[in-house]
């Protein structure tokens, strides 16, 4: 109990004293995850929106593969990116291994299926509701996917926040491709793993608290977004539907 109390006190001290080591790790984590999420979203939203509307042979197979990728373990992603970026790998000439670029790439690959699958579901539901009416106005499938993604923009913001949450909380991929190098590629999750194994529990706990706070903040953002959207759209005020003819 004393250990827990002492650790918590020391962790809070690190946080309140704005320990430079701690906050440099936090900053690096946020930077890597924001970039990875932006990269994954820019590709995943387009791909997901198109998959939500397009109908082609083999679509079901692609959707099954996509849904399987949702459960992709982060260490496996790390391993694949490692193999690609290692000196003898196809992208070895880039020299990205054990760099922030490699970490961004790994997190983006990890998050891409999440963004794509959730966007696909969102746009497909919208297509079921509005698709026929947009089609009736002459919108072909590519234009419908853009319009429906725009129409579902608030839901897609939630997807973006969920993707960021997944990126910032993962440890396996960035550990493998980043190498957890102090002052260079060490981020919150890899630092927590390392400091715990070293026995520096206050720093690990302080980082854990920041990580939890980030996740909490994300949830607050999602709730605020939902409330704002309800206020704008008058959601909850169902259109008056009268007696059937």
């Amino acid at each position: 109990m004393t250990t827990l109390t002492d650790t918590a006190t020391a962790a809070l001290q690190l946080l309140t004293e704005l320990d430079p080591l701690l906050w440099s790790i936090v900053g690096r984590s946020l930077w890597v995850s924001v970039l990875a999420t932006a990269l994954a979203c820019s590709l995943g939203v387009v791909l997901g929106a198109w998959l939500g509307v397009a109908r082609f042979a083999g679509r079901d197979v692609w959707l099954t593969v996509l849904n399987t990728l949702l459960a992709l373990p982060s260490v496996v992603v790390g391993l694949l990116i490692y193999l690609l970026l290692s000196r003898t790998g196809p992208l070895g000439h880039l020299g990205w291994l054990f760099s922030l670029k490699a970490m961004v790439l790994a997190q983006a690959v990890l998050v891409l299926p999440v963004v794509t699958a959730l966007t696909r579901q969102c746009v497909e539901d919208a297509e079921r509701n509005h698709g026929e009416q947009l089609q009736s106005l002459g919108a072909k499938s590519w234009l419908r996917s853009v319009l429906l993604a725009w129409d579902e923009r608030y839901a897609l913001l939630t997807v973006l926040i969920a993707a960021f949450g997944r990126a910032i909380s993962e440890v396996g991929a960035v550990m493998v491709v980043g190498g957890n190098i102090e002052g260079f590629t060490r981020v919150m999750t890899t630092a927590i793993a390392l400091e715990t194994s070293k026995g520096d529990l206050p720093l690990a706990l302080a980082l854990g608290l920041v990580l939890m706070s980030v996740v909490l903040l994300l949830n607050v953002c999602i709730s605020a977004l939902r409330r704002w959207r309800q206020r704008i759209d008058g959601a909850g005020i169902e259109p008056v539907q009268g007696v059937l003819a």
């Binding site: 509005h130 009736s136 106005l137 129409d151 579902e152 759209d233 005020i237 259109p239 009268g242 003819a245």
Partner: protein, 233 residues
């Protein structure tokens, strides 16, 4: 008179289910054709074929070369935008420049009495207002052939009368052709010039509106007779 719609032996199949069986239907400019029949008789499918939303499994469906169509659905789904932009989007998708689309959209809103709600979120409108908005969007496209899938069936009596009044005004002001489905036989009497009775995807009666309601159908069209008897009590 030129044909606005020509269906020749049209069949539509959904998996093992044949939704339309060899439909023959020709419509001429200015005609107002009501599709009646029980749920699942193929009315909505026929409307979607006529509008080009569904591909036919057999036969041929074509519209006249000068035909400009617009469709109003049973329950219009509102895009997450303002009332004005809901109409503007429709015009823009049909190739109207954005600025010109705004002017035409406002005219359309004035026509259905929604001009004061132009900046409101379309999703906050009541069911009747939403259907009037859908009519405004259809009207703004300046079609000469309008398809309506049970346009008033999900509305309360007041909203139903309002939408029907707007439709009647539209018809009176132009030579627009209408193809609409309805369960409301009073509305069919008021709006249609011709009635097509469908049952299990087949046309079993195709008569001028007066004949459909006033002529004894028991011998010539027994199924339509039974339908009318059931509906009118």
């Amino acid at each position: 008179m030129s044909a606005v719609l020509n269906l020749q032996g049209v069949s539509v199949q959904f998996g093992p289910h044949l939704a339309l069986h060899g439909i023959h239907l020709q419509m001429h400019a200015g005609e107002r054709v009501a599709l009646v029949g029980a749920n699942g008789s193929g009315k909505s499918t026929l409307l979607r074929v006529a509008h080009g939303l569904l591909k036919v499994s057999g036969g041929q469906a074509s519209v006249g070369p000068e035909v400009n169509q617009a469709m109003v659905f049973q329950r219009p789904h509102m895009l997450r935008t303002t009332v004005l932009r809901f109409v503007v989007w429709g015009l823009w998708l049909q190739g109207t420049p954005w600025r010109a689309a705004h002017e035409r959209a406002m005219q359309a809103l004035e026509r259905v009495g929604l001009q004061d709600m132009a900046e409101r979120s379309a999703r906050t409108l009541s069911g009747g207002q939403q259907q009037r908005l859908a009519l405004a969007r259809a009207w703004s496209l300046q079609p000469n052939f309008v398809l309506l899938d049970e346009p008033t069936s999900s509305l309360d009596p007041h909203a139903k009368r309002e939408v029907e009044r707007l439709l009647a005004e539209w018809v009176a002001a132009s030579n627009v052709s209408l193809l609409f489905s309805s369960h409301n036989l009073g509305q069919v009497k008021r709006l249609a010039t011709r009635v097509v009775y469908l049952e299990a995807g087949r046309v079993l009666a195709d008569l001028p509106v007066d004949e459909f309601f006033n002529r004894p159908l028991a011998d010539s069209h027994p199924e339509a007779h039974l339908f009318l008897k059931g509906e009118l009590g």
